[in-house]
């Protein structure tokens, strides 16, 4: 009895080549070196941006390939997106308080 899900996935059919895993690994190592190097250069406000961009690239590779998200169901993808979205809600709405607390300087 198959369940009425919309996508059909059997991992047996998605055995990735070893070379792909090594390629991802190499990219991750290079990115790590890159982020260490970038931290030693003074980019001002962009230091954090670069650091997070590289981290996100690394994270994306881990999730897509090591965790097989690229070859998984739509439902799994929705789960990952939900996680990111909820983190985003928690961060951004909390920041609406902290970023605007000092806007009003005269007595209220």
């Amino acid at each position: 009895m198959a369940n009425p899900s919309n996508e059909h996935f059997s991992p047996e059919s998605h055995i990735l080549p070893v070379s792909l895993y090594f390629a991802i690994w190499a990219t991750l190592m290079v990115c790590t070196g890159l982020t260490v190097f970038a931290a030693s250069v003074d980019l001002g406000i962009f230091n954090i941006v670069v650091a997070l961009l590289i981290a996100t690239l690394k994270g994306t590779l881990v999730v897509l390939f090591f965790m097989h998200l690229k070859y998984s169901t739509k439902l799994t993808m929705v789960t990952v997106i939900a996680a990111l979205f909820w983190l985003f809600i928690m961060f951004s709405l909390t920041l609406t308080d902290y970023m605007t607390r000092h806007w009003v300087t005269s007595g209220l």
């Binding site: 991992p11 895993y21 790590t32 981290a55 998984s72 961060f91 902290y98």
Partner: protein
């Protein structure tokens, strides 16, 4: 690659009674692990929120705190975890292709990398503890270049978050080592076949997640800024 009778028997025995077939069981278990990882993201997320708020408000204090981190330790640990993710992923692949011995070897190497990470972390913790860089009544902070700290109160908060975030991560690492050990033992008892290796796969997912958290912890805690006296 042919599925032997033994393989099918193992898969049949592993099928739980409330599932219609192994495919449903496998998909359900995998989805269950992804859902669990979602909860873990929110769990760490609370700490990241605290970090975000305090770093935004007390940047200099955080810079000074992070400059006391040993860059080589953090970078090496990042590399170690990436390697462990590789061996873990290859270990899952070995399970997929029915290569039991290869799987065991790869998972053992994964554990070694994990223990290596914990060892280096232990060295770092020891160093910070000796320097009184642990929050509480005995906290004492000296900047890397021995100048007076600009905001020691908030650097103490940096360290609180450092210990909490890396500590929680290390705890997850220890659990991960335990899980991989369990998989190895079950694997030695020939529990897995190409038709049934779901536990290997979901432990792999957990392991990669722990790596993923560190991928963010490293730049946020170790690489804030190298500028001195800025």
């Amino acid at each position: 690659m042919a599925t032997s009778d033994v393989d099918i028997q193992i898969a049949e025995r592993a099928l739980q009674h409330h599932f219609a077939d192994m495919e449903q069981q496998q998909e359900t278990s995998t989805f269950g692990m992804w859902m669990f990882l979602l909860t873990e993201i929110m769990f760490f997320g609370g700490l990241f929120t605290a970090y975000l708020v305090y770093r935004a408000s007390y940047y200099q204090a955080f810079v000074e705190g992070s400059q006391k981190m040993e860059l080589w330790a953090g970078a090496t640990n990042t590399a170690v975890l990436i390697c462990s993710s590789l061996t873990m992923a290859l270990g899952v692949r070995a399970a997929q292709t029915g290569r039991k011995k290869l799987m065991i070897v790869l998972l053992l190497i994964t554990i070694l990398f994990g223990l290596g990470f914990l060892g280096i972390k232990g060295v770092e913790y020891h160093e910070h503890w000796e320097n009184h860089e642990f929050p509480g009544p005995n906290f004492h902070f000296e900047t890397i270049d021995k100048k007076p700290p600009v905001d020691p109160q908030h650097t103490e908060i940096y360290f609180s978050l450092y210990w909490a975030m890396t500590g929680l991560h290390a705890l997850h690492m220890i659990i991960g080592v335990g899980l991989v050990s369990w998989i190895i033992i079950a694997g030695l008892m020939s529990a897995y076949t190409p038709s049934y290796y779901t536990p290997v796969e979901i432990v792999g997912l957990y392991w990669h997640f722990v790596d993923l958290v560190w991928i963010y912890l490293f730049p946020l805690l170790y690489l804030i800024s190298k500028k001195h006296g800025g």
